[in-house]
């Protein structure tokens, strides 16, 4: 019998070895796959037991999100409420996470690779790991001002984006109306049902016809094709792109006669821009220029969800009517305020687009600097002389044209207005601008959705934001 006992014992041994193998499969090989399973709630349970990192504004003082002990677990608190929620997002056990809370989760939750001795020891001991602190590029005063300006605007709906053209730092990214991310678990359903689209960040995800602000891109394409600001065009008050049929007209049916290309930008003359686009630029060149300025890009390096702006179908599908209307930002052209701010910033920075940045730095809970972002060039959009010409043309819009309300005493300001027709309601009021024009420190895009004409409803808002930014010397 002993021989058989031994045999069976070996079989049992094999069974135990196999079980260790199965354990190793789950605990080593399949560990990450199971941790990522959407039904696996263990990670979020663990995350509740350790404080998440702080989210701070660029001053390092203004707290945008923090974790507060509540009973056994930690609770996420947003002291600034709705003011930053479009950027910071929310972090919920039930509804997931959005914004910086989502994209910076590995830093905030302390799940990133340990980078300080404290973190390493903490991870080895398996104890709850406090998250790292994330500092944003947003300036608290500029953000507050922008938010309040939209809130008190003619329609009370819209967005303001402010960027440092030389560094790519986003200084303000305000959207109104927005939501209070505090107690999101209880309030989420109510926020979601609100007819005002509270969860939509109008600055980065709202798509609006850019109207005449698009003329900056059309003008850039025209300059590249050899059109000069001094070239004279005739405006009889209408233009038939196809020779007959549909006619482009000017805002409020105006006609301007013989005017320079510069004047056409100053006064935002649709007829001349349509003519220039059809007869000098062409569909492909306009499309390529828009693409070069960032249309179609979702800016994946930026830890924010950016909806790509669009000039509609590919240029091979455009007829002359489409091209003519796309030239002044109608047709199916749609842009986010963020994209139009990037356009202004690129012209301001001598035609070089900087990589946009929202994260300034990441620090451990003890204050050790772990990550710091630096200015970096994304790509050159315009050669320096074209950019300089366009810069001067945009200065003229403020000094000679329809954007006089953008003037700041002692500072040269450049800009372009936009009053875009919308499918419903009053037109969208746009203004994109930068200052000081000879040494730009701030580029701003203002959108007031259904706000009315640009001159009175968008330009003054941008002027205040630029003035504040220059005063702060950001």
């Amino acid at each position: 019998m002993n021989r058989h006992f031994r045999r069976i014992f070996y079989v049992f041994c094999c069974g135990f070895v196999a079980l260790v193998g199965v354990l190793a499969y789950w605990q080593v090989y399949a560990k990450q796959r199971l941790a990522d399973n959407p039904n696996n709630g263990l990670q979020s349970k663990r995350e509740l037991q350790a404080p998440r990192g702080l989210i701070l504004a660029r001053d390092g003082q203004t707290v945008l999100a923090k974790s507060v002990k509540s009973g056994k677990d930690y609770k996420r608190v947003y002291p600034q409420g709705a003011l930053y929620s479009n950027v910071v997002g929310y972090w919920s056990q039930r509804y997931g996470a959005t914004g910086i809370e989502l994209t910076q989760n590995s830093n905030l939750s302390g799940n990133a690779e340990p980078r300080t001795l404290d973190e390493l020891l903490n991870q080895l001991s398996g104890g709850p790991q406090p998250g790292d602190n994330v500092e944003l590029t947003l300036d608290p005063r500029l953000q507050k001002l922008s938010y309040d300006l939209i809130k008190n605007s003619s329609s009370g709906k819209g967005a303001i984006v402010a960027i440092n053209p030389k560094t790519g730092e986003i200084l303000a990214l305000a959207s109104y109306p927005s939501y209070d991310p505090n107690n999101i678990d209880q309030n989420f359903k109510k926020i979601q049902k609100n007819p005002n689209d509270l969860l939509l960040d109008r600055a980065t995800q709202g798509l609006y016809p850019p109207g005449s602000t698009m003329k900056v891109i059309t003008a850039a394409a025209a300059l590249k094709k050899g059109v000069k600001p001094t070239d004279v065009f005739n405006d009889p008050g209408y233009y038939y792109p196809m020779g007959s049929g549909y006619a482009v007209t000017n805002y409020k049916g105006a006609s301007y006669g013989n005017v320079t290309f510069q004047k056409a930008l100053d006064l935002s003359i649709n007829v001349i821009f349509a003519k220039v686009a059809v007869e000098y630029v062409g569909a492909k060149a306009l499309y390529d220029m828009a693409k070069n300025f960032g249309f179609g890009d979702s800016y994946n390096d930026l830890p924010l969800q950016i909806t790509p702006s669009s000039v509609g179908p590919p240029p091979s599908k455009w007829d002359k009517n489409y091209l003519a209307t796309a030239a002044f930002g109608q047709a199916q052209v749609q842009a986010t305020p963020f994209e139009m701010a990037m356009v202004a910033a690129t012209v301001a920075n001598d035609g070089i687009m900087m990589k946009p940045r929202i994260i300034k730095e990441v620090r451990s809970p003890e204050g050790v600097l772990l990550e710091k972002t630096h200015p970096s060039v994304d790509h050159r959009v315009l050669d320096a002389s074209t950019a300089q010409t366009l810069n001067q043309m945009m200065q003229s819009v403020v000094t000679q044209g329809d954007a006089g309300a953008a003037k700041i005493p002692g500072v040269t300001v450049a800009g372009k207005t936009g009053t875009a027709e919308t499918p419903s309601g009053a037109p969208d009021a746009w203004f994109i601008s930068f200052a000081p024009a000879n040494d730009p420190k701030i580029a701003v895009a203002v959108l007031v959705h259904n706000g009315g004409d640009s001159e009175t409803n968008a330009v003054p808002l941008a002027q205040k934001v630029m003035q504040q930014a220059l005063k702060e010397n950001l």
Partner: protein, 440 residues
């Protein structure tokens, strides 16, 4: 045969205490009543010393292994239930069961030091075991989670199958020891395999069939598997005929196919085994999916005692307790625990090999095989290596009947070991001028 194992015994108790103090430190909880801890340590140490005195030739390592397993179980049960409303005193209840188990073990040692007496009553024991299992069909029995396995006896609830399996192994051992020679003799051959005469199978087949039928009716898949496989293994070792294993395999295939087609709950178990992921939130698969999440969460070194989330597994303290060990102690800790189980199996097989009379050999082997299979079945189940069938993890899981049954099992192994040890010592004394073997 290891004769002394004081050091392993102290080590086992020390590990248990370190576990408790870690928990108290990590969780910042007030300790369970110290009296219970002292009672646990005192009783097992006392048991160890008593057994050393009463059975000086018996395997001394079995009790330290039992102490370690019950200790790990207690720590985990306490950790998993101390803050759960309604079951916060489960660990102290388990201590009481360990005390009762220890008493039962002493009783077994006192009454059955001459286990031959036990084997003489094999038919009676077999019949009583079957009747005891059938008793859950009476109004005294009741259902838990769709399986009617429990018996109300006054203030306590008993799971008769936990005791019946030991009784049946006694029956099989006694019967097979008597008849093994005639059963090994072959009269015909079929497909090249030697087929033994069938007439000696009557009693075994009746008891085997009756016990399986009862378990299937009671919806107890895990115990069905044990009651099926252990007698087959005993038959194999008793006769040395591989044919029994092959025949058993064929029968198992047929039975499993029939059960799959007949019972909806068997189909659900198979779904939960093959691909539980799409049903992670459904009743069929929630438990096993949570088990795997927790096991994976442990990684190589574990989350640390008290830092895991195994409480997300429903009823984790009984059948799924191994998942909590794997989660909090990791691959290393769980493998170490499996090694401790293997050590018990090794000692059991060793006892069977050293025993001299066939009935004792078969009994020791049967008990050990059941212990080993039960461990493999439940650990395989919670790790999804095989379909999940609910049995307890011996000595570790919460459960009174299981604890007491396994103490009785250990008691029987000890008396067999004592008997063999005594004979070996006597034989040795004849040939050598006395020599003592030490271990530990």
């Amino acid at each position: 045969m290891a004769r002394r194992a004081t050091l392993p015994m102290i080590l086992a108790l020390a590990i248990t205490f370190v576990g408790f103090f870690t928990l108290i430190f990590v969780k910042g909880i007030t300790s369970p009543p110290l009296a219970y801890g002292a009672a646990y340590a005192g009783v097992l140490l006392g048991l160890y010393i008593l057994v050393r005195i009463m059975l000086p030739h018996a395997d001394a390592l079995l009790l330290p292994i039992v102490t370690l397993l019950t200790g790990v179980g207690l720590v985990m049960i306490f950790r998993l239930t101390y803050d759960v409303r309604g079951i916060e005193n489960l660990a102290t209840t388990q201590v009481v069961w360990i005390l009762i188990g220890s008493a039962a073990m002493l009783l077994v040692i006192l009454l059955f030091r001459n286990y031959e007496r036990l084997l003489e009553y094999k038919y009676l024991i077999g019949i009583v075991a079957i009747l005891f299992m059938a008793s859950v069909a009476t109004p005294l029995g009741y259902e838990v989670n769709g399986a009617r396995l429990w018996l109300h006896l006054g203030p306590v609830n008993i799971q008769p199958s936990e005791f019946a399996k030991i009784a049946l192994i006694i029956f099989y051992a006694g019967y097979l020891a008597d008849k093994r020679e005639v059963m090994a003799a072959t009269s015909r051959s079929f497909l090249g395999m030697q087929i033994p005469a069938l007439k000696y199978f009557g009693p075994v087949a009746v008891v085997w069939g009756a016990s399986l039928l009862l378990l299937v009716v009671e919806n107890d898949l895990g115990d069905s598997l044990l009651f099926f496989a252990v007698p087959l293994l005993m038959l194999y070792v008793a006769t040395g005929r591989m044919a029994y294993i092959v025949l058993g395999g064929i029968l198992f295939g047929i039975g499993a196919y029939a059960a799959y087609n007949l019972f909806g709950h068997v189909q659900l178990r198979v779904i939960a085994w093959l691909n539980p992921w799409p049903h992670a939130q459904d009743q069929c698969c929630y438990q096993v999916v949570q088990s795997l999440f927790n096991i994976a969460d442990g990684g190589i070194t574990g989350t640390g005692l008290g830092e895991g989330f195994a409480q997300t597994i429903p009823d984790v303290q009984t059948d799924f307790i191994f998942a909590s060990v794997a989660s909090e102690l990791g691959l290393l800790g769980a493998s170490a625990l499996l090694l401790v189980f293997l050590a018990f199996v090794y000692r059991g097989i060793k006892i069977a090999m050293l025993a001299t009379d066939p009935a004792a050999k078969l009994l020791a082997f049967g008990l050990t095989a059941m212990f080993a299979l039960q461990t493999l079945i439940i650990v395989g189940g919670v790790t999804k290596a095989i379909p999940l069938t609910g049995v307890t993890l011996p000595f570790v899981s919460y459960g009174g009947s299981s604890i007491v049954g396994n103490f009785i099992l250990t008691g029987l192994l000890l008396v067999i070991s004592e008997h063999a040890g005594k004979q070996h010592a006597a034989a040795r004394d004849e040939y050598y001028a006395g020599g003592e073997e030490y271990a530990g």
